[in-house]
């Protein structure tokens, strides 16, 4: 077990997991109201997506962020990934402030974001080669093979993404994100586009993989069950605009967890009810605000 873990991790000086802290993060999308915009009828109001987000994520923790739709979850993840800049506040990893994307954070995208012209193997190789350009080719290939094995895609190496099912595509997405050995794994509704059965299956896979590769993980999700199955902590957000963190729940279930037995833990129903109440209250408020702004 231990040996397979070290084999899967390429040699780097960086620690395998990291402490993430979000300090007072807000994101304001500026509106468009210049005279040219008015002339072309494309004005928009400025929009405060998230405001004053403070969060500390300890190393090797699996944290889910859940909230009503449009609450800025993805905005927050993009800011952590460095793809988008916060209007105020800062993101730091192990005390170091980060402002740009980097291979210390692996991202799993909702729409898989695989390069259609690359095979499964090439998609993963592309990531490894980009992050470790001086690594010998043989070693790059062995890392690639390890991660293809880890996500259970052996035999599909030479297939192109359009030949894969949604679930298989997202396995490649996960393998690609893990193959660069990031300190933090960021997942933006990774199973949102999958059907319920495939989603459940991939959740089990992520649980299995996380047991092997304990990273700091931030998972954006809509699913209460998904959050309860996978997370150590669940961050519940309020509705937007100016979404904030409403509450952070600890999920004390022991690991490895199994979907079938999860509801036998005494806290399961308490947590689930709390999340359902919060989410349905916020979602109702969102719907009402759309009718009577």
């Amino acid at each position: 077990m231990q040996s397979s873990k070290t084999m899967l991790s390429p040699e780097t000086s960086a620690p395998a997991a990291a402490h993430l802290s979000l300090n007072n993060i807000s994101k304001l999308f500026p509106g468009r109201n210049s005279w040219t915009d008015r002339l072309l009828r494309r004005t928009s109001k400025e929009f405060m997506a998230i405001s004053n987000i403070n969060l500390e994520v300890a190393p090797n923790r699996f944290v889910s962020i859940i909230g009503p739709s449009g609450c800025g979850k993805s905005t927050l993840l993009n800011i952590i990934a460095g793809l988008s800049q916060p209007t105020t506040g800062s993101v730091s990893i192990n005390g170091q402030s980060v402002t740009a994307p980097g291979p210390d954070r692996g991202v799993v995208f909702q729409n898989y974001a695989l390069m259609p012209w690359m095979t499964v193997a090439e998609n993963i190789r592309f990531a490894v080669e980009t992050v470790y350009p001086t690594m010998p080719i043989a070693e790059q290939k062995s890392i690639m093979q390890d991660y293809i094995g880890l996500v259970g895609l052996r035999g599909a190496e030479t297939k192109h993404p359009h030949e894969l099912s949604g679930g298989m595509k997202q396995r490649v997405g996960i393998a690609r994100a893990l193959a660069i050995n990031p300190q933090i794994l960021l997942m933006d509704e990774p199973f949102g586009a999958l059907d319920a059965l495939t989603r459940g299956f991939l959740q089990d896979e992520v649980e299995r993989i996380w047991e092997q590769e304990r990273k700091t993980v931030i998972l954006i999700t809509h699913s209460i069950e998904e959050a309860l199955l996978l997370s150590d902590q669940i961050v519940m957000m309020t509705r937007g605009p100016a979404a904030q963190i409403a509450q952070v729940l600890d999920v004390p279930f022991p690991r490895p967890r199994r979907r079938e037995t999860l509801d036998q833990y005494p806290d399961y129903h308490r947590l689930k009810t709390a999340m359902e109440q919060h989410l349905s209250y916020e979602t109702r408020a969102v719907e009402e605000s759309r009718i009577r702004p």
Partner: protein, 275 residues
């Protein structure tokens, strides 16, 4: 009797011919009706006397097809040799044009400033008929061969340029985000992500360019000399309508084949991005 017929139809609900075969039969029928009306009109002298009959045209078509590569001097060549002359000009001009259009398209696709700066030139030059460049070419090159290449190259630039620019500047942002999150260099992002992502658009542009170049070569050769276009004009001066019709069919066939080849290339670079 009726019972038997009924049984036959109910026992065989599937039509004997599939839609493709039906379409082919219909195609043959339309062709035969067209040729029949043509032949009839010509024998009844409904058309002008210069108009040949269908059978004469088919005979002449067969004459040109049976020996495409004879060469009795510059004004009496087989249709295959004439086509090769035109094809050589089109492909050379097309390569020159593409060698300008693709790098320029990538450049203006990558840089908004360059794009905005160059756009007025493109927008003004693009709608100009390629033949308007011909006198300028003759003045600059003083040589009909080079002028033909010049006109074809200019013709080939615009669709490729605009499609390349479109493809490069409209790469799916998630691909670019993947490259950014991996910390890929600008050069690596261009060569490994942007260009492969834009490849279907670039090939689509090349396909349109080659099609237009093939359209233009006939007109250009009528005004210059040599090749299939000159042949068309020459046969008009000889009042040989059958040869003109033959040339039209052959030009169409060659254009079709080139377009299909580019269609295959387009599928080859698309990887399911185009259904």
């Amino acid at each position: 009797m009726t019972n038997q017929a009924l049984r036959a139809t109910t026992a065989q609900p599937k039509p004997i011919l599939n839609p493709d075969q039906q379409a082919f039969l219909l195609f043959i029928a339309i062709l035969l009706v067209f040729l029949g009306l043509w032949e009839l009109g010509a024998t009844l002298k409904i058309f002008l006397p210069i108009m040949p009959s269908a059978s004469q045209t088919i005979q002449d078509f067969w004459f040109w097809m049976s020996d495409p590569f004879f060469d009795n001097g510059p004004n009496d060549q087989g249709i295959g040799l004439l086509l090769l002359t035109s094809l050589r000009r089109v492909l050379t001009g097309f390569l020159i044009g593409s060698a300008i259009a693709i790098p320029l398209g990538i450049l203006i696709g990558l840089s908004e400033v360059v794009s905005k700066a160059v756009d007025p030139f493109i927008q003004i030059l693009r709608p100009v008929s390629p033949l308007a460049w011909l006198p300028l070419g003759l003045a600059l090159m003083r040589d009909s061969e080079k002028t033909a290449l010049f006109v074809i190259a200019i013709t080939s630039i615009w669709p490729t340029l605009i499609n390349t620019k479109f493809g490069v500047s409209n790469v799916d942002v998630t691909y670019l985000n993947v490259a950014r999150t991996l910390g890929a260099s600008r050069w690596r992002t261009i060569t490994k992500v942007i260009l492969p992502a834009a490849a279907p658009n670039i090939v689509a542009g090349l396909r349109i360019s080659l099609g237009i170049a093939w359209l233009v070569i006939v007109a250009a050769e009528i005004l210059l000399s040599g090749g299939i276009g000159y042949f068309v004009w020459n046969e008009w001066n000889n009042l040989k309508i059958t040869s003109i019709i033959t040339a039209i069919l052959v030009v169409g066939l060659v254009g079709l084949i080139m377009d299909r080849l580019f269609g295959l290339l387009q599928n080859w670079v698309s990887f399911g991005q185009r259904s």
